[in-house]
């Protein structure tokens, strides 16, 4: 195999990595918000449930969570939903790992939503009480205060920790290969096994590096754009 062929094959895998990255971000980031609100709820039961979920999800390795999501429906309900999706998509469209990718997307989204929720919670709770009180004495409603006064200050504060998580996320996508999803490292390992080529495995690092480089530039821009005020 030529260098270009190897690169193309690895890039096919990297597209799956990017898919996991994008879906996790697009679904996990919004999902983190209701979890954060539950963790700050006045109702003790809601707060406790939310905190326990966050504790479990953050307390178990992501790889194990992928296994749990993938295998548990079959073990508990004797219904291997992801295997069925795999088979259906393969027969209909010739895609081999759609079901396993779905399982990975669910695991990643839940996992990252919990991490995001804690970042949101920290951001929201770091805004001084005085900001709320200033809104109250001006006759504003709680929702107006949150949307018009608090939110932007929270966004400014959470950009750096969110950037950190987002950069971690692209590298975490490699965990998908534990259930044989054809992401970039799985493809590289396949080359090692079938063609006795080891260098593509190390070459995958370049893909991550380039992508993280682009992310860093974009996230820094966002941080700069929000730095016009100091809260």
């Amino acid at each position: 195999m030529s260098f270009l062929e190897v690169t193309a094959f690895l890039f096919d895998g990297f597209k799956i990595s990017l898919l996991i990255f994008a879906v996790t971000l697009l679904c996990g980031a919004p999902l983190g918000l209701p979890i954060a609100f539950c963790s700050m709820s006045r109702f003790k039961a809601v707060k406790s449930i939310s905190k326990v979920i966050v504790w479990i999800v953050r307390g178990i390795p992501l790889m194990l969570q992928i296994f749990i999501i993938y295998y548990v429906p079959g073990l508990l309900f004797n219904y291997q939903i992801f295997g069925k999706i795999d088979r259906f998509m393969f027969i209909e469209y010739g895609i081999s790992d759609a079901g396993r990718i779905t399982a990975v997307l669910i695991a990643f989204t839940l996992n990252y939503a919990c991490y995001f929720s804690e970042i949101y919670r920290g951001g929201i709770e770091s805004i001084s009480k005085g900001q709320y009180e200033a809104g109250y004495v001006l006759g504003l409603t709680k929702s107006q205060i949150f949307r018009k006064i608090i939110l932007k200050q929270v966004v400014q504060r959470i950009v750096p920790p969110m950037s950190n998580e987002i950069i971690t996320l692209i590298k975490d996508t490699a965990l998908a290969n534990c259930i044989m999803v054809c992401e970039i490292i799985k493809n590289a390992k396949e080359l090692a096994a079938t063609k006795a080529m080891i260098w593509p495995l190390f070459f995958t690092g370049v893909f991550y590096l380039v992508f993280v480089g682009i992310l860093t530039i974009v996230l820094n821009k966002a941080e700069k754009k929000l730095s016009y005020f100091r809260s």
């Binding site: 001084s128 005085g130 900001q131 009180e133 200033a134 809104g135 109250y136 004495v137 001006l138 006759g139 504003l140 409603t141 709680k142 107006q144 018009k148 006064i149 932007k152 200050q153 400014q156 016009y228 005020f229 100091r230 809260s231």
Partner: protein
């Protein structure tokens, strides 16, 4: 009839009784200063009047309208509280400007959200107020670009933007150095001259004496002494008032 009539306000936090039966009245156009050592309940009193704390009992009447009655929970719905709060403006010790908004936007935010007129008239009123506190050159600045004194003047203008009947100040100069204190106090003096009714919690005794029509001295959650500033500050009758003011007298 007084513009503000406060009677028998009590407030406890857990077992600590912070306000023990506070009553006073305020006439329209008058300036009331509340003095007293830290922990005497001055700030809690202001916070109760603005519904940032809910008093345990007592009654607050503004312009013949009851806005709070400790024995009647119907005054405490979110909507009622919001409406009642609009009788008052409150200026905080640490300003609490909204950092992501410019000076002008800080003033127009609440009137716009509360639909207190069309955009042009809200903006014009805000610009007038900004001029009144002498910051017309800072209209488009963000709070972090202003000095503490300037920020506090913006906060005063912001509170005035909703036409409150009474403006409250909670130690408005305690976070400022002497020079910046003067610029804020001058703005407050200017407001007095334009007939604004104000309640000022302050540690600036000379200012309280010069600007007030009435002074209240609080200690341990009760009003120990109240009356004309020349009486309370220059010639206090109560031992505790005398003790508190001794230091001020030595310095002046």
């Amino acid at each position: 009839m007084s513009i503000l009539n406060v009677s028998n306000i009590k407030k406890s936090f857990g077992k600590t009784e912070v306000l023990k039966d506070i009553s006073f009245t305020l006439e329209k156009g008058d300036v009331l200063s509340i003095i007293g050592s830290s922990g005497s309940g001055k700030t809690t009193l202001l916070r109760c009047l603005n519904f940032l704390e809910i008093a345990d009992c007592g009654k607050v009447i503004v312009d013949d309208d009851v806005i709070f009655d400790g024995s009647d929970k119907s005054y405490l719905t979110d909507e009622k509280i919001r409406e009642s709060r609009l009788n008052f403006g409150l200026v905080f010790q640490n300003f609490n400007l909204f950092p992501q908004y410019t000076v002008l936007e800080n003033l127009t935010l609440a009137p716009t959200l509360l639909k207190k007129g069309d955009e042009a008239s809200i903006k014009q009123k805000a610009l007038e107020l900004i001029k009144k506190v002498g910051l017309e050159e800072k209209v488009d600045f963000y709070p972090c670009q202003l000095s503490g004194g300037q920020q506090q003047r913006v906060a005063i203008a912001r509170a005035l933007a909703l036409n409150p009947k009474i403006l409250f100040f909670d130690e408005p100069t305690s976070a400022l150095d002497p020079e910046l204190t003067m610029e804020v106090l001058n703005v407050i003096k200017g407001l007095k001259d334009s007939g604004c009714t104000m309640v000022i919690v302050t540690h600036e005794m000379a200012f309280a004496r010069d600007v007030s029509d009435k002074v209240i001295f609080m200690d341990g959650g009760v009003i120990v002494e109240q009356g004309k500033p020349e009486d309370v500050i220059n010639n206090p009758q109560n031992e505790r008032t005398k003790h508190f003011l001794n230091r001020f007298k030595e310095n002046s």
